[in-house]
């Protein structure tokens, strides 16, 4: 499961899954599991794409520096809990 710290985190992820029309992200968010390495990688890419939007500091966007920072704790916890701790570590090296 995804251990959100607050409802805003989930709303932000769901918003961008729709906006990007990202079927993989939608599936991960609905099932709250990572079924494969490729699914996990794509979900990580989805998150970092949202961070890039936060960097624009556009008040019309739901993503911002604060909620994407809060989400980074949730993402680390989720990848670790799903057995993809090493993959998350590699992804971070490539960021």
């Amino acid at each position: 499961m995804i251990n959100y710290s607050n409802s805003e985190e989930k709303e932000v992820l769901l918003h961008y899954a729709e906006q990007f029309d990202d079927g993989n992200a939608r599936e991960v968010l609905n099932n709250e599991t990572l079924k494969s390495e490729s699914e996990a990688k794509a979900f990580a890419e989805f998150y970092w794409r949202i961070v890039d939007i936060a960097a624009e500091r556009n008040t019309d966007e739901p993503a911002n520096i604060s909620n994407t920072e809060s989400l980074v704790y949730t993402m680390t916890n989720f990848f670790s809990q799903q057995g993809y701790e090493d993959l998350w570590d590699q992804i971070l090296d490539d960021i």
Binding site: Y4, A54, Y73, S80, L92, I95
Partner: protein, 166 residues
């Protein structure tokens, strides 16, 4: 170690510290910024800041003069190495996109450090291995909280990011 050239240099250092002294709680902050306080440019444009404290982090009174205790609100700290790395990378990615060319220093304090009465470290119940809050345990004025946070900031050790420093 008081300096690092890449974030992975910190892995063994943090592990050794934890073996010797217990859980290490840390924050990654841009060089030149406070380790505990925020400026408007350091956070989201819509975030309200009162005397350097982000309102979203604590349970503020409507008049913004008081802070009430809340079991799961407070200043965020990374509670393990991997999460520190993730927070650092988040900051690094933002800096790159925002054309901010500054090193990101790491500040740490022990969970069992002697901190002022009225403050305590508690794990985030939803992710206790990754994330801790520095929360208030009693109602206090914002001025009081500011002074206690300054005390904590003074107790935090700095590990300097050597990238970009000549």
């Amino acid at each position: 170690m008081e300096q690092f050239k890449c974030i992975n240099d910190l892995r063994e250092y943090i592990k050794e510290l934890e073996k010797e002294k217990g859980r290490v709680l840390s924050r990654a902050c841009n060089d030149g910024t406070s380790r505990v306080f925020y400026r408007p440019c350091d956070t989201a444009p819509n975030d309200e800041i009162v005397q350097g404290i982000r309102v979203r982090d604590f349970c503020f009174s409507n008049c913004r003069h008081w802070v009430e205790p809340h079991p799961q609100m407070g200043l965020s700290f990374s509670a393990n190495w991997q999460n520190l790395k993730a927070v650092y990378k988040h900051r690094e990615r933002l800096n790159k996109k925002m054309n901010i060319n500054t090193p990101i220093n790491v500040f740490w304090i022990l969970e069992k450090a002697d901190i002022p009465q009225g403050l305590e470290f508690v794990p985030d119940k939803s992710k206790p291995k990754e994330h801790y809050y520095l929360r208030v345990t009693e109602k206090m004025t914002v001025e009081k909280l500011v002074s206690k946070l300054k005390w904590v900031a003074d107790k935090m050790s700095k590990i300097t990011d050597l990238r970009g420093i000549k």
